[in-house]
């Protein structure tokens, strides 16, 4: 384990940014946001960013290919090239686990998504343990340990120093390259912090929430539940929950005409949108209730069924904070398992 004193944090950032782009969570008008580090970019005090690190690997929109068109002829132009190396500093445990959720879809389920893979291979994640979780946090529900995040380099920030532990090949190489400004450290301070975090996690309001009722094979149990109608009755059908969600990965592929041909790009899409499943001759999910149900069934039942029981929610709490009508996966889970406030 290596450490660097907090007053030298800028030196650390500068050193990393010498060889690749570095992104750190920093304050902005939208709230905390991963920002490309330049001299003076300050680390936020907020617990987490408005949007997760998904955007780095699966951006809101990305060009896939181009077409040149002339008369009846078409030329397909592959515009993929090697992504530049980059480092993300300060990713939280929930958001790092979200990458595993996305990896299962884009890397591990055949065929591999080469666009995602390209970015994933060139990105290094320096995670940061959470000493001050907030009331909307419930990563523990999904077996995520906020005291021991995953990532390439796992960091713990104490009052006076940043402790770094490389846990992957990429992380080791990066940490080695920082050896002249960091020093060896024992695990005492980090161990103390981990104990504090573990204790705090048990005091969170949602600490008792479990996934016991959910998982693969529960389609029949929940699909026709009368709760869906009540839960979705005031859903606006907007895409906020899906777009701030670090694990939502549905996308659309669209064409854009430019002066010299056509660009085919993909962009985030939302199962909450009325057009999502619409075909020329009909729509298999016509009501908002059906679309709402799809989103939560996917996270709590369908995804685990296909991924050895792993849920595609990481308890980051973003939907709790951002839904315009304050509906969210916690309310859904509690209602479905029959333990919501109303029916106790």
């Amino acid at each position: 384990m290596r450490k660097i004193s907090l007053d030298k944090l800028d030196l650390l950032f500068a050193k990393i940014a010498e060889n690749q782009s570095l992104y750190i969570p920093s304050d902005s008008v939208e709230g905390a946001k991963f920002t490309k580090w330049t001299n003076g970019t300050a680390l936020t005090n907020e617990l987490n960013t408005v949007r997760g690190i998904k955007d780095f690997f699966f951006p809101q929109s990305e060009d896939l290919m181009k077409f040149k068109m002339q008369g009846k002829n078409i030329e397909v132009i592959d515009i993929r090239d090697e992504h530049e190396d980059f480092v993300i500093f300060g990713a939280r445990a929930c958001d790092v686990r979200a990458m595993t959720v996305l990896d299962n879809v884009f890397l591990h389920a055949e065929p591999v998504d080469t666009y995602y893979k390209n970015r994933r291979e060139h990105g290094i994640i320096m995670s940061l343990a959470c000493t001050r979780p907030v009331e909307t946090c419930f990563c523990g529900t999904f077996g995520i340990d906020a005291a021991n995040p995953e990532g390439d380099i796992v960091c713990h920030k104490t009052d006076d120093a940043l402790y770094m532990n490389a846990v992957s090949e990429k992380g080791t190489a990066l940490l080695d390259s920082l050896s002249d400004i960091t020093e060896d450290a024992d695990t005492k301070a980090v161990d103390e912090q981990k104990a504090l975090i573990k204790e705090r996690m048990t005091k969170l309001p949602l600490a008792e929430l479990t996934t016991d009722a959910f998982g693969g094979g529960k389609t029949e149990k929940f699909f026709d539940s009368p709760e869906w109608a009540k839960l979705s009755e005031s859903c606006l059908g907007c895409g906020t929950c899906t777009f701030v969600c670090p694990t939502c990965q549905c996308y659309d592929i669209r064409d854009f005409k430019t002066n010299d041909g056509v660009v085919r790009y993909r962009c985030w899409d939302s199962c909450m949108y009325s057009q999502f499943t619409r075909m020329a001759h009909g729509n298999n999910r016509n009501s908002q209730k059906e679309r709402f149900r799809q989103r939560f069934m996917h996270k709590l039942v369908y995804y685990p069924e296909n991924n050895n029981g792993m849920f595609s929610c990481v308890g980051c709490g973003r939907c709790l904070a951002k839904c315009p009508i304050r509906m969210n996966i916690v309310k859904v889970m509690k209602a479905l398992e029959g333990t919501d406030n109303g029916s106790n």
Partner: protein, 330 residues
Amino acid sequence: MQEVMRDKLVAKAKELLTGGVVTRVLGWKRGEFCYDLTPGIFKSADELDKEFDFGDFAAPNLSKYLIDETRKEDGKVAVFMKPCDTYSFNQLLTEHRIDREKVYVIGVPCEGMIDNKKLSAAADGIKNVAVDYENVVVETLWDGNVTVPRESVLAERCLNCKSKKHVALDELVGYEDEITECNRFDEVARLEAMTPEERFEFWQGELSRCIRCNACRDVCPACTCEKCVFDNPSSGVESKAPSDSFEEKMFHIIRAFHVTGRCTDCGECSRVCPQNIPLHLLNRKFIKDINELWGEYQAGAEVGSRAPLVNYTFDDMEPSEAVERGDKNA
């Protein structure tokens, strides 16, 4: 700090339900925390007792839900409305989107709603919140009690409250107040005073954060098209992500134009934006322009009023004159 308490509203709702005046009540449901109220329908006294809530976080404007509710063949629906919500209601009536006969409006006075985003920024780990006229005391997870001035966490729209008077009402619970003096156009004036380049940069910065979640449109009581042009595959402008920086701005600008003269300035668009874009400023600019070009006009102040933009008279200025006056403002 709401003067009228939840229990009074529950009692009123029960009375209307049991008296057969209405078959259901549209209100706010208690959430997981003290601040996350969700709009919802209540059909029984039992549901009201268990789930109804009201207070400083009953921000959602319920008027738009009445479009669907009044289409149901299920008798009358009672709805709770804060003063500013009633402007949206009237505007929807003006546009024949709601069947007035099927609604029973219960007015609720409002002392201003707390902005969740401001509150979360002011205090980490919110366990509980106590509000009085002066202060908000937040019981936090790790920092004990944190006290902040109430004004510092009030929603922008409430700091610039345009009216504490209900403009539509079947019955009032509590007291009635007056239309208020406010400075809601100050920020617009500040933008108008910028050079075009500065102003462009301001909006570029704001709108480039948009993630096209459509929450602003979907919550907007003026956005009631059966099929939005931006959702229509055959419109040619259906899109879920800005394909370039022009299109990025187009969505919001077209939306602002479309609700011009119909926007009551309820502020829901800015409340729900996950990216903190001050969308209400676009609409306020149009309201300010209308006020200056055709005289003061407040959408939703009365039912059936013809908005200046659709009310052509011989006294209207010539378009060239409007352009000139617009140029002066630019």
